[in-house]
């Protein structure tokens, strides 16, 4: 893939925690408008890569680029302004706020009203609030969350919270959406619905998606390309079918043939 094609790129990315190499020498490109999935067994380093992109961790080596800009070391709160949104594996919603407030917080990156105006709640602030509310309502409608609008997150079921997490990310109006295990904890029906939403987000909203996932059915259904990781290194990259039939990938998930048992010393 040429440099021009690459909307998002990781170059020789690595992350070390003390002696542990969580991610080592990872390089990949994501094209604009595609759904790019990252798969791999537990501990492969998938969420670590996401955490590096959203700047929760600083990479030990390598670089990250988005829309031509080097984002390896920018401040964490600037990621949203660049158009990158993410969901979290274990749901990081604001549990003592309502659903609507969570979505409105998602609009923060688009809020440019000075603090003093907010303290006085000037008409400009009021108008901005109404605009944000309108945008949040669009997301609520897209995801069908109307009946939960004014409820505290702490009172909502898990499946709904996963969807709210997605909605909050959408409120950022991202260009790049990072989905961290969107189907974990969801039943079959909910997973299918999540799949439809991912496709809608790609087609209707034109958002590029990078997804970490374990559910192979979902991966096959929505992904354009897949990257397989194991123990921090790339195993394989290609279409979903290619990667899933790669013998290296199969070995990483299922394990190879067992070693023959060593000769035991004769018992006394």
């Amino acid at each position: 893939m040429s440099q021009d094609d690459s909307y998002f790129a990781a170059r020789d990315l690595s992350m070390r925690f003390g002696g542990i190499r969580a991610v080592e020498g990872v390089t990949f490109d994501v094209r604009k408008g595609e759904v790019f999935s990252i798969i791999g067994p537990n501990g492969a380093g998938k969420t670590t890569i996401f955490n590096m992109i959203s700047r929760i961790y600083t990479p030990s080596g390598g670089s990250l680029h988005f829309a031509g800009q080097d984002i390896t070391r920018i401040a964490p709160h600037r990621i949203a302004g660049l158009g990158i949104a993410r969901t979290f594996q274990n749901i990081e919603l604001f549990s003592h706020a309502t659903l609507l407030q969570n979505l409105l917080i998602g609009r923060h990156a688009h809020s440019h009203v000075p603090i003093l105006s907010q303290l006085a709640f000037l008409p400009s602030v009021r108008q901005a609030e109404i605009d944000h509310r309108r945008k949040a309502e669009e997301v609520i409608e897209f995801l069908g969350l109307q009946r939960y609008r004014d409820q505290l997150i702490a009172n909502l079921p898990y499946g709904v919270r996963k969807v709210v997490e997605l909605g909050r990310a959408l409120c950022i109006e991202p260009k790049l959406l990072l989905l961290d295990e969107p189907s974990s904890g969801l039943n079959v029906e909910e997973t299918e619905e999540m799949g439809f939403w991912i496709q809608d987000i790609q087609k209707d909203l034109g958002i590029t998606i990078i997804m970490v996932e374990h559910d192979m059915k979902l991966v096959s259904a929505v992904s354009n390309r897949v990257l397989a990781l194991n123990q921090g290194r790339i195993l394989s990259m290609g279409t979903s079918a290619q990667v899933q039939s790669d013998p290296e990938v199969i070995r990483a998930y299922i394990g190879g043939a067992p070693e023959p048992a060593p000769e035991k010393e004769a018992a006394i």
Binding site: N51, F88, Q89
Partner: protein
């Protein structure tokens, strides 16, 4: 601590409650070469005084840290537990005339039982509430304990005779220390050794470590976690009782002696709140800094200095000196 006396024009805090002319062997007329030697001896005395005071702070801080490591509760009533331990000891040894060592042991047992009951009756019910709520709870308990102690034992200062009161130990070279200070330091060392062996070698101690690191896994292993936590409270209270009794030769017992808890708390924070050795190191740092500040800085600036030092340390090491930086895995 108590008994501020003025020697050579400087306020010097002596850790004895006696009215001896000599304060830990400091000569009152230094001159020439002898002045240099005396100055050195004086510095050693300050360091020892500071270490002894620091051991007390450290033991109370240890009580904090034991509870915090296990249950993440901050016990703002730790100083008051120490106060209760002191009053129990006073009742046994001072009022009922028991043998010092028997009374000591009984006081530890009584305070430990009280700590156990406290957890079982009150604190178990607030599991699951935010940390801030528990802080307020223990603050409320501290007020209650003070009032109850005042009602039972009165508001006057009391004390009782120990084997270490008013005695000195001669270490040669002009270094003469009060046996009270030495007993504090030695007692602390012994207690820490006992605790170390307990936590690392005995099954119960290991169960406690397990419960503090991972409650759920401990339950799975068949460890009765809630009982174990109550036992940790018992140990923490017992440690505070030890600190209280060690303190008796040096300071009077009264209802407000729990104020020490704040300094011990600062010591625990300094050391990094989850670290047991950190608590002791923090305590000793606080104790020694106090002594030297009292000696070398203008009178009355001790409290200001200790607060500034505390703030400064936290700014540079927001997790305390030995604290671990814990990050959430998302």
């Amino acid at each position: 601590m108590r008994a501020e006396r003025v020697i050579d024009g400087h306020a010097s805090t002596c850790l004895t409650s006696t009215h001896n002319e000599r304060c830990d062997g400091i000569s009152s007329t230094p001159k020439g070469k002898r002045a240099g030697m005396d100055e050195l001896v004086r510095l050693v005395q300050l360091a020892i005084n500071g270490t002894a005071a620091g051991c007390i702070y450290g033991l109370v801080a240890l009580g904090f840290v034991l509870i915090y490591k296990a249950t993440e509760m901050v016990n703002f009533a730790q100083g008051e537990l120490m106060m209760l331990g002191a009053f129990f000891a006073y009742t046994f040894v001072g009022m009922w005339g028991m043998n010092y060592w028997v009374g000591f042991a009984l006081a530890i047992a009584a305070t430990a039982a009280f700590g156990y009951a406290l957890d079982a009756v009150v604190l178990r019910r607030v599991i699951g509430q935010p940390q801030f709520a528990v802080v307020m709870l223990t603050l409320g308990l501290a007020f209650i304990f003070r009032a109850v102690a005042g009602a039972v034992w009165g508001y006057d200062s009391v004390g009782f005779l120990t084997p270490f009161t008013n005695k000195v130990a001669d270490f040669g070279g002009g270094v003469i220390l009060g046996q009270d200070n030495v007993s504090i330091i030695v007692g602390t060392v012994i207690l820490c050794a006992v605790l170390y062996v307990f936590f690392s070698r005995t099954p119960l101690g290991i169960a406690m470590q397990a419960s503090s690191q991972n409650q759920l896994a401990a339950y799975y292993m068949g460890i009765p976690v809630r009982t174990v936590f109550s036992l940790i409270w018992a140990i923490s209270a017992g440690v505070s009782a030890v600190a209280a009794v060690l303190l008796v030769p040096v300071s009077m017992i009264d209802v407000n002696m729990g104020i020490l808890g704040f300094k011990a708390f600062a010591a625990a924070v300094l050391g990094g709140f989850g670290s047991i050795p950190g608590a002791l190191v923090g305590g000793i740092i606080v104790g020694i800094t106090e002594q030297f500040a009292g000696r070398f800085l203008p009178a009355g600036s001790m409290e200001l200095t200790s607060n500034i030092v505390l703030l400064a340390v936290l700014i540079v090491w927001p997790q305390g000196l030995f604290g671990q930086v814990i990050r959430k895995r998302v």
